[in-house]
Symmetry: C2
Subunit: 338 residues, 2 copies
């Protein structure tokens, strides 16, 4: 079993970061799991704020926090001595620690020993521990939705969380399944699929979203893109392991090339739909793309409307920006035809 399970609710540690962008994960937790985000701990007055209640470790514990989550990245991704002192005290007082940073909590001086002797958990969610098994592609019960992308960072986590939220609002049994560090910290569980050994990609995802009731929907966070030369192996293994009946294609229309690779063209959306459907059919014979989730934040309201309308016509599928319009029409289409 390699699925991280992090005890909630959280106290969100913002350290001394003054960069709004670096608090992205913490903000994601506050937006998508407000009931789990009890408060924020900031080391100085200049530290960014999420607008949550400011809490000391003691106040967080008194409010019921079980885990302090490092929801920020600092310069160079390295944790400094001021942070370490706070972590040590958090363990002493009774909190587990969870981090999505590259540097491991378990590698900080003395922290692993301290946690072991106090029986606290250290969750380094970018790193996978425990043994995995090889995927087998055997058909399993339950409904599964997977978000796939034309590129990296095209809204796959956001869309999966938005779909889960709207399905639950409608009284449908739905559960977000996290495959990256931010998603794992938001969900409190999951597996960082890009950190597993290559042989176990699909097996890890089969373990993440096992057989379930026939009317239960797992909404699985996709990673990368079949067309991204750096990460497509992860995307394909994830697609096979997910065994999703329903795919939602996520796209960011203002991008000029694949993320990080100026020489690499963005694939055409129809090619993306076809390639993902064909690959998914290896383990899920009826897999189909049921909608496009478009991140139009780079477009004016008017340009966004035009883009959505023309793409909807071209692809013959509902297109929506989950942020602007929500995922309601895509979910309608899934429930009517999926």
């Amino acid at each position: 079993m390699s699925i991280a399970e992090i005890r909630k609710p959280y106290l969100l540690f913002l350290g001394d970061t003054e960069d709004e962008l670096s608090a992205k994960t913490a903000r994601g937790i506050a937006i998508w799991r407000p009931e789990s985000a009890l408060g924020e701990l900031r080391l100085s007055d200049r530290t960014v704020s999420l607008g949550l209640q400011n809490m000391s470790l003691e106040e967080g514990l008194a409010a019921g926090a079980k885990t302090m989550v490092l929801g920020v990245a600092n310069r160079g991704g390295i944790m400094d001595e001021a942070w370490l002192q706070t972590f040590r005290k958090a363990l002493d007082l009774g909190l587990d620690l969870a981090s999505g940073m590259h540097q491991r909590l378990a590698d900080l001086p003395g922290l692993a020993d301290q946690a072991a002797s106090l029986r606290r958990q250290l969750h380094d969610v970018r790193h996978v521990r425990g043994s995995l098994r090889v995927g087998n592609g055997e058909p399993r019960s339950g409904r599964r939705i997977l978000t796939v992308g034309s590129d990296c960072s095209s809204g796959k986590m956001f869309t999966a969380l938005a779909v889960e939220k709207e399905m639950r609002r409608r009284g449908i049994k739905a559960r977000f399944r996290a495959t990256g560090q931010s998603g794992i910290l938001i969900a409190g569980e999951g597996i960082a699929v890009d950190a597993v050994v290559a042989d176990f990609i699909s097996g890890a995802i089969e373990e993440l979203c096992p057989a379930n009731e026939p009317d239960h929907w797992d909404v699985i966070e996709g990673q990368g893109s079949l067309f991204h030369p750096s990460y497509a192996g992860v995307s394909l293994g994830l697609l096979h392991g997910a065994q999703a009946q329903v795919l939602i294609l996520c796209h960011e229309p203002t991008r000029e090339h694949m993320r990080g690779l100026p020489g690499q063209a963005i694939p055409d959306l129809l090619d993306c739909i076809e390639a993902n459907e064909r690959a998914a059919k290896v383990t899920s014979p009826k897999a189909k793309v049921y909608g496009l989730a478009i991140n139009t934040s780079g477009l004016s309201a008017e340009a966004a409307s035009e883009y959505l309308a023309s793409t909807e016509e071209r692809c013959s599928l509902p297109c929506a920006d989950p942020m602007r319009q929500g995922c309601g029409r895509i979910i309608d289409h899934i429930l009517a035809h999926g």
Copy 2:
């Protein structure tokens, strides 16, 4: 740098195995790199033999051996005390050790310390050490051939080695690039791509077969199949990282289902060709399948001829069994049109 480089020539350690099949890797070395296989070391008279000269450690060293290679698997993949004594003595006398087993040499009691103090190398080729980088898909010079498969264990290593051998016989600059443990021990270098962390699959292959002279051919050993639910992520990352202009599809026609998965059908060969060409074009726009290497060992000579002729007509590509006919016609086609 994570590419294993093993010093040659070898003394092949056969241990006390009495099972012909378990000596497959050792036999591969003796067949494909006879100049590197100085002799064999057997612990008993009942141990299988490759027909090489029987040598003690001292005789191997006197003959010039640099590395003793564990070319067998024993029951359960566990090395026992009798083996360990031989390994210790081999290090003492001056040999490096290389193994393709799951259990690491470096984890055997005292062996890592002994090797470090004597400055010998321990090569656990199933395990990747050192840091890798993420792939970037940037075009690089040199010609590259990749063997791809309809399934696992369909002859991809054998075909790549046969192509290298025939190209060299014709005076063409060609170099086999190993991606699995047997291939690495045969070549004396390579990277076990299924053992790298998922994020680095394509990057590892870019490192394995870097830019080269315009008339130099890397012949890259493929892994798995785009259609195998357990390992397709590895296959796709390998395909993108290889940036091959030329693909050779390997197929075993008597198989009834995907290896290890009774419920999973073997893909149609035309689908295989199309899927591999489409996926390869992400980093190698002119990539094309130039021939099919068919393992007909399960067919009679007559049935094999019929199968090859009908498949050649159906796929409009040269089809040959590298074992029975060699790869000459496939190479002719590559050189004429590739």
